[in-house]
């Protein structure tokens, strides 16, 4: 089990490396750069641009610095110095800093590091008020709502198979799974803000100036929007899984032993039926967190997702790398979690 776990976790490293390479290449192949994305602030002074590029190391070759290598060779440097000269490219430097936990300075947010922008709040406030904290809060709230809605609906639909409950929850699951979350968000805003006037049309800040606790009423509508498709998916999965377990022999055995219906359902049926559901919770959370960028844009929430979309259009290279790697890490870890949780919950599955 532990060697399996270690191997699965180690597999994340090459995946992240390749994601980093691909992102880096796409990013630099994209027309434009960090210094010219905003027409109003465009600078044309070549000397100034050169200084900027030098300051941020953007004047170096992307991968291998063959120029420095050749120079070091003519100077008769030793092999260690030669390797160092060869690897003095933008990508190797980025990786080296990343291994030291440094994602570099943002190219568009003056004087701020990527780490700081993503994981720390601007003033001396706790880290959970950061962009990461905001996105995580929305994601976790959404997961909570999805579980609270999806599981009971799925279980109810299966236990009352082919009744109005079943059709009702199937209807919800079909609609909810298909509806894009930005459309759903717009519908919610129309219903709750424009028609019912329960909440303001413009979502207030989730972290108030004077408090370290989240403004949950502001976070609720975005989380609900984000949660519905996942809730629908969980309801469908739960229903199918419970239906499948219901027909098994051990359920008949449990009933014929004279166990009460409650114990049969809770201890025998649900315990087995929820295994496949438990395994998708990891990916569901990863999907919610990475899928929140449209919601963040729609509701004007300052999270990682909005940062990601903004940094792409502003060509903030280091920020693009940071957010993409963050997303890729989440997805990769979620996939590891599936396998691990599955093996943990169902001892019949042997880890190879």
């Amino acid at each position: 089990m532990s060697t399996y776990l270690i191997r699965r976790i180690l597999y994340v490293i090459p995946v992240l490396f390749i994601v980093a390479v691909v992102t880096f290449v796409i990013m630099h192949a994209t027309p434009g750069g960090p210094w010219d994305a905003e027409a109003s602030k465009r600078t044309s002074d070549p000397l100034f641009l050169e200084k900027l590029n030098q300051r941020y190391g953007l004047d170096k070759p992307l991968f291998l610095n063959t120029y420095a290598f050749a120079q070091a060779k003519t100077n008769g440097a030793n092999p260690a110095e030669l390797a160092q000269a060869l690897l003095d490219g933008q990508f190797p430097n980025y990786l080296w800093n990343l291994l030291h936990g440094d994602m570099g300075p943002s190219l568009r947010m003056k004087g701020r590091d990527v780490n700081e922008v993503m994981f720390f709040s601007s003033t001396d406030r706790p880290f959970w008020t950061s962009r990461f904290g905001t996105t995580a809060l929305i994601g976790l709230l959404a997961l909570g709502i999805a579980l609270l809605v999806g599981l009971p609906l799925g279980i109810l639909a299966a236990l009352r198979h082919n009744t109005i409950f079943d059709y009702g929850s199937l209807f919800f699951a079909t609609i909810g799974y298909g509806i894009p979350n930005f459309v759903l968000g717009v519908f919610f805003i129309i219903i709750f803000a424009v028609w019912l006037e329960w909440v303001p049309v413009i979502t207030p800040a989730i972290w108030m100036e004077d408090s370290n606790m989240p403004n949950l009423s502001a976070a609720f509508l975005p989380s609900l929007t984000l949660a519905i498709p996942t809730a629908a998916y969980l309801a469908r999965l739960t229903r199918a899984s419970v239906l499948e377990v219901m027909g098994r022999d051990f359920i008949r055995t449990a009933r014929s032993k004279g166990l009460s219906e409650r114990i049969v359902v809770i201890r025998h049926m649900l315990r087995n039926a929820l295994i496949p559901v438990a395994t998708v919770i990891g990916p569901a959370l990863a999907g919610l967190v990475t899928g929140s960028f449209i919601i963040e844009n729609l509701f004007g929430i300052n999270g990682i997702g909005r940062l990601f979309v903004e940094s792409i259009s502003r060509r903030d290279y280091s920020m693009i790398m940071g957010t993409t790697l963050f997303y890729a890490l989440l997805i990769a870890l979620a996939n590891v979690m599936v396998d691990v949780v599955y093996g943990f919950l169902d001892p019949r599955i042997r880890m190879k």
Partner: protein, 303 residues
Amino acid sequence: MSAVAVANEQSEILAVLARPPRSLWRDAWRRLLSNRLARVGMAISLFFLLMAIFVPFVFPYNAKVDSDLVNQLTEPSREHLMGTDEQGRDVMNRIAQGAQASLGVGLSSVLIAVVIGTLIGLVAGFAGRWIDIVLMFLMDIMLSFPGLLLAIAIVALVGPGLRNSLLAITTVSIPVYARIARSTVLSIKEQEYVTAARCVGAPSPRILFRHVFPNSLSPILVQGTLGIATAILEIAALGFLGLGQQPPYPEWGAMLADSVKYLTSGAWWVLLFPGFAIMLTVLGFNLLGDGLRDALDPRLRVD
């Protein structure tokens, strides 16, 4: 058993034999038609499909000159059933004209992705060994990016626009079909009829395209139908982020994005109707896909 009974049985058998042969596809078609939800899905999909094909022909539309600044953001009325937008354009007309963008890109991206993805999957599954390892490793890398994020990255690379979002959406969905095709091929490869074909000396490409491919078609067909729904959703999402169809041309997602800022003034109709259009189309293709899955493989049904 009496002679009469035997004769009866024989005539019954003859009657069965005399029926026209029922192919797998015809059976599936019948099962599909008997499924109420699938019929609803088919009707919705067909409605929007016809809209996408015929509306631009029957009602030619020039987006560049369409504006009526006197009637900005008017509520739904008899004249404008779904109201007008911030430039006084009729929302219903723009939704109808916008169907072409969504459905056109949705269908063609799935078609292209299915062809390329299936080919990759067939080759990987059939060839095995290092070809399989290399191809599937590439597909796994593509899958480790969240789909829409990769699409955004590609659009950022090649520039915003409808054609480029087609390219992005197609690229993103290729690995899905490659994986499905590969896994079906892996199971079909072990079937006896493939061994039989090999024994009579059929060359590999022939086995691949005559025996393996037709039998791996149904899961790809199901995924393809569901994929149309995903593609329509992704086009709308790209349009919503301003990366898809560019103004002034109509596209549902872009219509939503253009109108979000008018919510504060209470203009709900510019958002509700394009939203409904996206929702209904996605729903239609999802229902059709679910129905196709039940029809093509009755074993997969949960109830």
